[in-house]
Amino acid sequence: MAHVDRQTWDVVVVGAGGAGLRAAIEAREAGMRTAVICKSLFGKAHTVMAEGGIAASMGNANEHDNWQVHFRDTMRGGKFLNHWRMAELHAREAPDRVWELETWGALFDRTPDGRISQRNFGGHEYPRLAHVGDRTGLELIRTLQQKIVSLQQEDEKEFGAYDARLKVFQECTVTRVLTESKSGSATGSGKVSGTFCYERESGRFFVLEAPAVVLATGGIGKSFKVTSNSWEYTGDGHALALLAGAPLINMEFVQFHPTGMVWPPSVKGILVTESVRGDGGVLRNSDGKRFMFGYIPDVFKEKYAETEDEGDRWYEDPDHNRRPPELLPRDEVARAINAEVKAGRGSPHGGVFLDVSTRMPAEVIKRRLPSMHHQFKELADVDITAEPMEVGPTCHYVMGGVDVDPDTAAATGVPGLFAAGEVAGGMHGSNRLGGNSLSDLLVFGRRAGLYAAEYVTGLTARPAADPLQIDAAEAEALRPFSAEGEEREGAADRGPAENPYTLHQELQQAMNDLVGIIRKESEMFEALKRLADLRVRARRAGVEGHRQYNPGWHLAIDLRNMLLVSECVARAALEREESRGGHTRDDHPAMDRSWRNINLVCELADPQGDARAADPSLGQIRLARRETPPIRRDLLELFEKDELAKYLTDEELTR
């Protein structure tokens, strides 16, 4: 298939959200010819959905804040499973990344003395989130987009072409990361040599040859039925890494945001920002009770108010009062809401009440939460200045992802592959704090771009794209057009063509029901069975029409990724017999200190072929346990001994 168009670049960035654009800016500024490739239009990435803010300890709202406090909060939020080095780099570098945005034209909300305003959020000790009303993600994406354009304008002046050194391939999808062949195998497992892609508009295939690829594809939420995530979140980068030979970690940890819309059904899952609670909103059950006071876990007992009065005083006087439990980390609040609904104290549409109407004047609500006001008014006929919202948990974020070097964002095992943002694992441990995502994108997006550039500069020869891999990738992508009636090698492969939309719905239902917010062993066994069955059927996913802008075909291709990633989640969740952060086991409800320093590592069981994919009795994922490196002493010393004793084993404490 020599006719597939090839282009040569230095760095290819897959994904144009916060992490991808920040990586591209850094790589381009380091002199790399950089290509960005994204499934949507430029500027539409999922980052625009982020509402609350960017966490960075600038200390503008409370001068006691600093990176050490931010680091502590992040580790607590992740229940100490975080890679401490990532949490450290993140806390140290976040303020610089926010200030830098201002020099690119961002306009954050201001404090009275003209600095960047910072707001409260769950799990953050001080007001820490730089924000623009409740549309911070839009500001972030637009600022990065406009910075990219400004770099292109420079290139236009110098070279006469905007795209000379930085090009955005919008509405394109990558289906394979290509690697240099090792010992003649078809799939390779050596250095990165490029990406195999198709243009969504025309269906045309093309190859971007490049020695470095940065994965910045975001998350996996579209494998779940109720989710705040957009269609793009099909776990592409997670799957691309696995298929190229790079392992994933922490895939059992999936964050269910406590407050998604629950009504009307068509908007179920759409996010209601945590800022509602950060700014004073409270959660009530059908009895009108602020139930969160009954759900403060032992590890956080000393840090949260015990009475409504104290919690309310905290908004005005945070130095002498403790914060209200509505601002516990997201995993705690989501579980509490789930429990209230299960106990029959839910709202009419199966959620609980989130109320700002009795807490703030209408004009303050409209100014501080304009998107929420608009969203509820337009989509649910609810005026949040006059009545409470109904909210419930929604699949929001995956903590797990590509196993990376904490300093360089380099993926384990595949030289030239990097990952940043949600697709990378480790930074957030078992649960991410609100506001730490946008800062993560900027801190590690920049590092990925920087070290990808350094890697490329250090190469003496460029790996060549393997024609066999390109042929195989093309055949794989075209499969849905010849699905019906075709007989293939394996018996299980035969049968009528399957509708990709139906398969997707069944997958979402299975993950939602069986590997959702509360998990148990028997259900996860059932999930693995269903996933295996779906995987075999997905090989027969067939589509009508032609390759030009054909959404059925795109979905059929994305199903491979969702199924791989879902199996990782289910297998890891079955293996981890404890409850921690975004992983709650009904049959193992307690957090177990002996699990704290264990990462579950997912790898492709059969990297050389797809025999396993066709056989429902086999899994595609092999799981291994790995111990995390001990936390550096000076970082441990930031915590009280008593607190550490809740998380670390006695052996770790005395080491």
């Binding site: 610089d96 406009q146 508009e201 509708n499 032609h546 802008y549 054909n550």
Partner: protein, 272 residues
């Protein structure tokens, strides 16, 4: 709007809840042409037009092309014309229509069709590139920016723009006048110039860029005759005409006729 509210009221009468069959006409075709296709499709309570398009994809027309992302009015991807009016499909509730009404969904008219409801919006990205970026003040380092909320508020309104390009689609300067596209940036990007011009710390003037003059001379501000069509279709309710275009016109006029007055204003504003 009154008409819609009445329709909404009717649809939400007691007994009106639950599923019903709606009649849709959706434009299908590509660069070679196309036509409206008729569909009868189920509608559930609380749904928006985009839900119905998705149902058509999943049940009747798997290759029906539509662009969308967030389904929450935040990304600006699912722009189309619904009964002739430029709107976001994800923010148009089915309850604003009569149940017996035929709902016609067509692609944005001002841009070339790619397929079905998807249009080629590259015009907008080309225009975005022609507007000089924010110029950081050379004397200030990162972290040293100080701005008052009331001063950033003006530009912040324009930065609410989700780039749905509905204003570009509806603007009569280009809607049926392909020949004007080369000389006219459209409301979205004239607003971008206004946003940068009102940025309290933009150092464009010091670096020799006159945003007001270029708005007039290079981006076609003069074509705009403030009919406010753009403002009417903006899903973010940005007052594009009143707050961006008219002030930009006034400032461009000042600048044109009396540079000294303009310079004096600029200096006063900065030292306040």
């Amino acid at each position: 709007m009154t008409e819609q509210q009445t329709a909404q009221h009717v649809a939400e009468q007691p007994g009106a809840s639950g599923a019903y069959q709606a009649h849709f006409r959706v434009w299908r075709g590509d660069t070679d042409g196309g036509a409206l296709s008729d569909f009868t499709v189920e509608v559930h309570e609380g749904e928006v037009v985009l839900d119905i398009i998705h149902r058509l994809q999943a049940t009747q027309a798997p290759d029906l092309a539509v662009r969308w992302n967030c389904k929450a009015g935040k990304c600006g991807s699912c722009s189309a014309e619904i009964n002739g009016r430029p709107r976001l499909m994800c923010m148009t509730r089915m309850s604003v229509f009569e149940r017996t009404e035929t709902i016609t969904v067509t692609p944005m008219r001002a841009f070339p069709v790619v397929r079905d409801l998807v249009t080629d919006v590259s015009f907008n990205y080309a225009k975005a590139r022609e507007i000089p970026a924010f110029v950081p003040p050379p004397e200030l380092g990162p972290g040293e920016y100080r701005m008052q909320q009331e001063d950033v508020g003006r530009s912040q309104e324009f930065r609410k723009c989700i780039e749905c390009f509905l204003c570009q689609d509806t603007c009569h300067v280009v809607r049926d006048h392909e020949e004007n596209k080369a000389a006219f940036a459209g409301p979205r990007f004239l607003m971008r110039i206004a946003e940068l011009d009102m940025h309290p710390l933009d150092a464009a003037p010091e670096s020799g860029i006159d945003r007001k003059r270029t708005a007039q001379d290079e981006h076609g501000l003069g074509y705009c005759n403030i009919t406010k069509c753009c403002t009417e279709v903006c899903p973010e309710h940005i007052k594009i005409t009143d707050n961006a275009l008219i002030p930009l016109k006034e400032r461009a006029a000042d600048r044109k006729y009396d540079p000294l007055v303009w310079l004096g204003n600029k200096i006063r504003r900065r030292t306040e």
